[in-house]
Amino acid sequence: MLKFVKQHMETMEGVANYPMVSLLIFFVFFVLLFWWVLTASKEHIKEMEEMPLEDNDQPQNTTL
């Protein structure tokens, strides 16, 4: 089955750019990741981490 598509890419143009492109993707990925995490607000993090602890098995008596 693969033989049908194989010939089209037999000689990959610019395959030498592959390593550089992967390195860039990798680098940018982690820069963005740390940027997201470091800019997250304290309140938001607090709200998120409390989520599993809400005892939501019992009907809550919250009146709003």
Binding site: M9, S22, V37, L53
Partner: protein, 736 residues
């Protein structure tokens, strides 16, 4: 803003069902494992019963533990925690039920088809194509149900556990589909579309990431929910969990080629795999530390609470396995560990400690909650913990020793340049005591599971079933699709399941694309060898028998370029030798010797006698006998269909060869029969058998029509193609 309080009911029934299935299949999967452990000590324990032979049971054990035990545990935990984290009942009761019964149907189909010898031989993806299709449907139902629940949730943001579940769904779907692309040749037989090196790369991209996205990410999600629950305090660092999630899923997918170091895979792909495997240490340990530090300040609770004990050992096991993983992917360490029992020890640290113990911890926590009662006996739970922990130690430590011992023996040379242990059997005999200890450790572990079973049954009896639990939460008010004022990008992403899913998909696809596409598309990665020719029809049939019996479970077909291996087996493997192999059969464990160069090494009658009674031919062998191969007629009925399927995959059989397939088979079979006749002992017993059959009016299958003849044809062909002398330079580089 509308803040009306809505009442709804959590579906506890589906959680209970998955929980019972986890317990049931856990016992089955581990019992099969224990039987295998004893077959290493008493190879003929199940003598003459094809469906209980080692090669067919091995995939049953691995699949039962991974997909039946761990799989059901994942669903139980995901269905319990997702409903509560999303403050909503599961999206559709029908999909929940379909997920449950469909999954059990797949397991039953596997439990029947593996012992019957229906296997694709690709590790952890052995299921044949009709079951693969069912698996796809059930998996889609699971994902649909999960995403549907996310969309109707009453909680604004998605907790990190849910991201892990989401990435599990997406990645397993991608892996499963691409690794199982195959051309069916009959109802339960197919050939993978990939050949040789490419098949190996795709398989271990799958195999490694099945470990990552079936045994790890869903369990990390469960850890992020159940450890805070059990410890009653939030996760140590939520920020760390965000980094943990994204870096783990991004890096994991690249690491697959570390399963193929020193093999015929192109070097660049091997090295890329090594680099990413080493990097993987950071997110893995980040996650482990995050889990363990959640218990800071409550370590006193760990002393008294069995649930927390199990979880601490589980997370520690995760830490050990994920430290060992990157070490094993270093080429010099891998050279020793690969193909040896070290790997068996490694995976059992993961399976018994990480998956097993986290599941047990989750069960001990969840069962009293689901049945509104206390656990029947804390003492029994503690007993389970200790016998289980000791079982893990006793299982794994001896196998580490066994791995080292055997690997060092394989490579040991005398001063005169000959192998110290030229007979493979010596290296097997040396580690039998370690196999004994492994069997004892495994027995202890399973005793613990039975104790848990009793404890759970008594707890369920004590409690009351709450199948649809009442809960309340305010309805979720609509907010803008765009980012709110002051909202960070990730804050926005955490309330957008679909966008999060798309980004996660992108993160997991990059690695696969960079590694797999060039290997498949760039011709120069697999230099062709002109003397390598397709298998003859009889050899092809023999190869299918080799696949059926699961020979690949104990015998590799990959001679690494090491002095010890070249001396012991012959010329090291070349990528071009495997171009007609659908599937590749390199194997991952050498319980017996490598078979790549076995062709021509022994006579035909040696092979026949060896299959009948391995211990008589090779003293101390732990290979079981295969009398049915010597007795049963081989199947020639669909050889032409098989050859045509191979042609579609690029194997150059001519029309004439396909047309004459039966004659070609007969010719080659007769030649092997003639060779067998040269042994007077064979002649005597064979003729006696024939006479006995005639006198008693019984059917008699001529030797040339029996399965063993096809298998001998294949074995005698193995690795011989490159020995043929070709006048022109035999290795031609393809164009780049």
């Amino acid at each position: 803003m509308n803040m009306e309080i809505q009442q709804f009911r959590y579906d506890n029934k589906i959680v209970q069902k998955f929980l019972y299935a986890t317990l049931f299949w856990g016992v089955v999967g581990m019992a099969v494992g224990l039987l295998l452990a004893f077959l290493f000590l008493f190879p003929n324990l199940t003598e003459g019963i094809p469906w209980l032979s080692v090669g067919r049971l091995r995939p049953l054990h691995t699949n039962a533990v991974i997909f039946a035990f761990v799989g059901n545990a994942i669903f139980a935990g995901v269905y319990y925690s997702s409903q509560r984290l999303l403050k909503a009942r599961m999206y559709s009761d029908f999909l929940s039920k379909f997920n449950f019964w469909g999954w059990q149907a797949i397991i039953v189909a596997a439990a029947i088809s593996f012992p019957l010898g229906h296997t694709s031989s690709k590790e952890y993806a052995e299921l044949e194509w009709p079951i693969d299709i069912l698996l796809t449907l059930v998996w889609v139902a699971f994902g649909w149900n999960l995403i549907g629940t996310m969309l109707k949730r009453r909680q604004r943001h998605l907790y990190v556990a849910l991201w892990f579940y989401l990435s599990t769904f997406i990645t397993v779907a991608v892996l499963h589909i691409f690794n199982n692309l195959a051309i069916p040749v009959s109802a339960m037989k197919s050939y993978t579309v990939y050949a040789g090196v490419q098949d190996a790369l795709v398989q271990w991209w799958y195999g490694h990431n099945a470990v990552a996205f079936f045994l790890t990410t869903p369990f990390l999600g469960l850890m992020y929910y159940f450890v805070p629950k059990a410890a009653n305090r939030p996760i140590y660092s939520y920020r760390l969990s965000i980094i943990h999630f994204w870096s783990l899923i991004f890096i994991y997918i690249w690491a697959g080629p570390h399963h193929l170091l020193y093999s015929s895979l192109p070097d660049w792909a091997q090295n890329l795999g090594v680099a990413f495997s080493v990097m993987l240490l950071a997110p893995s340990w980040g996650g482990m530390i995050n889990g363990l530090l959640t218990l800071r300040g409550v370590w006193d609770k760990v002393r008294s609470d069995a649930t927390l004990k199990f979880m601490v050992v589980a997370i520690t096991g995760y830490g050990m396995a994920t430290f060992e993983g990157p070490m094993l992917s270093l080429k010099n360490v891998n050279a020793i560990a690969h193909f040896s029992d070290w790997i068996i020890a490694h995976v059992h640290v993961g399976a018994l400690a990480w998956n097993g113990f986290l599941t047990f911890g989750m069960i001990y926590w969840m069962v009293p909650k689901l049945f509104k009662t206390e656990l029947y006996s804390k003492g029994l739970a503690n007993f389970h913990f200790w016998i289980g922990t000791l079982g893990i130690v006793l299982y794994t430590l001896p196998l580490y020793v066994a791995g080292f011992t055997q690997a060092l023996m394989w490579e040991d040379f005398n001063p005169d340049g000959t192998l110290v242990y030229g007979n493979f059997m010596e290296t097997v005999q040396r580690i039998i005591p370690m196999y004994w200890m492994r069997a004892i450790g495994g027995s202890m572990y399973i005793v613990g599971v039975f104790v848990m079973l009793y404890n759970v049954a008594r707890t369920v009896k004590l409690g009351s079933k709450v199948e649809d639990e009442l809960a309340e939460a305010p309805a979720l008010a609509r907010v803008s699709k765009r980012r709110l004022a002051g909202e960070t990008f990730h804050g926005w992403l955490e309330r957008k399941p679909v966008q999060l899913a798309i980004l996660a998909t992108f993160a997991i696809l990059v690695g696969g694309i960079v590694q797999i596409v060039p290997t498949i598309m760039v011709k120069s990665n697999i230099p062709t060898i002109s003397s390598v020719k397709p298998y003859t029809p009889l050899e092809l049939e023999g190869r299918d028998l080799y696949v059926r019996e699961g020979c690949v479970g104990c015998h590799s077909q990959m001679v690494r370029p090491f002095r010890g291996e070249v001396e012991r087996y012959g010329e090291y493997s070349k990528a071009g030798e495997f171009v007609y192999d659908h599937p590749f059969l390199w194997g991952s464990k050498r319980t017996g010797p490598d078979l790549l160069r076995v062709g021509g090494k022994y006579s035909d009658s040696w092979h026949l006698n060896h299959m009948l009674d391995p211990q008589a031919i090779s003293t101390g062998s732990i290979m079981p006998s295969y009398p049915w191969l010597v007795r049963d007629r081989h199947d020639r009925s669909n050889i032409q269909t098989k050859m045509r399927a191979m042609v579609r995959l690029g194997v150059p059989y001519t029309d004439q060869e396909i047309e004459n397939a039966h004659e070609l088979m007969d010719q080659q079979a007769r030649q092997i029969e003639e060779n067998l006749y040269e042994d007077p002992e064979f002649q005597r017993t064979y003729e006696a058998d024939r006479q006995y059959a005639q006198e008693n009016g019984m059917d008699f299958v001529d030797m040339r029509d029996r399965e063993i003849v096809a298998l001998i044809a294949y074995l005698q062909r193995l690795g011989t193609d490159i020995k043929i002398k070709v006048p022109e330079p035999s290795i031609s580089e393809g164009t780049d």
